[in-house]
Amino acid sequence: MTRSRVTDILYPAVFGLGVLILWQLIVKGFGVPAVLLPAPSDIWAKLIASLPILGVDFVQTVLRAVIPGWFIGSLAGFLAALLCDRIPFLRRGLLPLGNLVAALPIVGVAPILVMWFGFDWPSKAAMVVVMTFFPMLVNAVAGLQASGQLERDLMRSYGASWWQTLVKLRLPAAMPFIFNALKINSTLAMIGAIVAEFFGTPIVGMGFRISTEVGRLGLDMVWAEIAVAAITGSAFYGLLVFLERRVTFWHPSYRK
């Protein structure tokens, strides 16, 4: 490891550790009541003590709603982008709408979806599908047009079919855009599932736990749940970054 890579990891680590220590010292030193801000040590103790509950919530929210919804939404967005690519009229009609929808407060659809799909995880997964569809559509359409005219002409001179051009040239060229959308969607998916749980849920799930524990002023539990969400979100994101580097190793931004 070179010196710059060591500092790349060391600086943020020291900074983060410093914030945690400062937090602990301030809370304990000034005797901040636990209903305002629990100390990191208390949160850690609560996290360890309530692992079973956190595990059940994790299964309900992440495994049942976030991951399937993220997958279905991203896939549907990608397929819609392929369709837009084949039918230019559809692209010109759908893309401005997609850009508009991306700016709208889509989380507001949550109460409607809860009404349609019931209180349990299907409505949360549906929320995630709705939230992840449009970022993928917009990014994938842009990505499919990213390959240069020169390369496309070369493919045509080889007599390549639309499918061959797609698989061998345009999809690889679109990968940075697609991964960008997948990364945006990983964050949106967590938000969508948790916010949808505020509108009604069986008595399990991360959003449910957060809103009820806030009502009971059990803030250490809320922070423990947030820690789980943060670790999950970061791991999800990190995995996508790892995959992106493996798939788009040719991209200029990864050259040494």
Partner: protein, 300 residues
Amino acid sequence: MSAAPAIAVKPVAREPGNTFPVAVVCLAILLVWYFAAIPMNWVVTGPKIAAGGGGLSNLLAFSWNEARPVLPAPHQIAMELWKSVFTVAPWSVKSLVYHGWVTLSSTLVGFVLGSLLGVALAIAIVHVKFLAKSLMPWIIASQTIPILAIAPMVIVVLGSIGFTGLVPKSLISMYLCFFPVTIGMVKGLTSPEVMQLDLMRTYNASANQILWKLRFPASVPFLFTSLKVAVAIALTGAIVGELPTGAIAGIGARLLQGSYYGQTVQIWAALFMGSFLAAALVWLVGVAERFTLRRMGVKP
């Protein structure tokens, strides 16, 4: 023999406008919507249609005018919007103008504070190398946390110290929108090329002068792009901020009440109101962008 032009100049094909395709897609969505309302409302309207004697006219009349539909027909939402915007006094609790204003005010406060914080952080990060290395990764990591999930806690905790209403919601909006501004501005402030920076150095310009005369003007296009993203998520933050505590005013509260009492049309109307607000805010930032860039001499 007249000299033929050596190179046949191909007329540059103008990109055809999008108005017609967008209109067609919108029309298709409306048609699908009207059609979908029939089977989706069947649970509620089925018995009524049978009691009314069946037939196509009954089917359509009941499916598209049900008071508590599963999926309201578009004209029902339009009528609800008209009713709650124009026919009631704007300060009454039944008015969407009132709820929209409550949400809009905390959105705007949060947006202004968040943008200022974002710009300040970006300036600090560009000038202090230690911050770029230590703070930047955490700012990026903070976005992988579902921040909206913390919204209820922020509101309850601030409420217990005595802050209620506008302030907690604006804080959530602020927290959400500082991030795109920081990222965009760091990119923008570092966008001047080495040659330009070197020129400033040969002029013996101070860091302050470099910031105001070179870095800041260069970052303006980046700033506006991030501001458009920021204003949209500031609105989302304000709406979500109204959800968890049973707030009595605002678009989010309207959504929550609608879902408690099964008032589907009310939910949809609130949703459309929120969407109009978002579109209007993004459009306004776009107008400000065009005006500013033109004043700065950017050719379109």
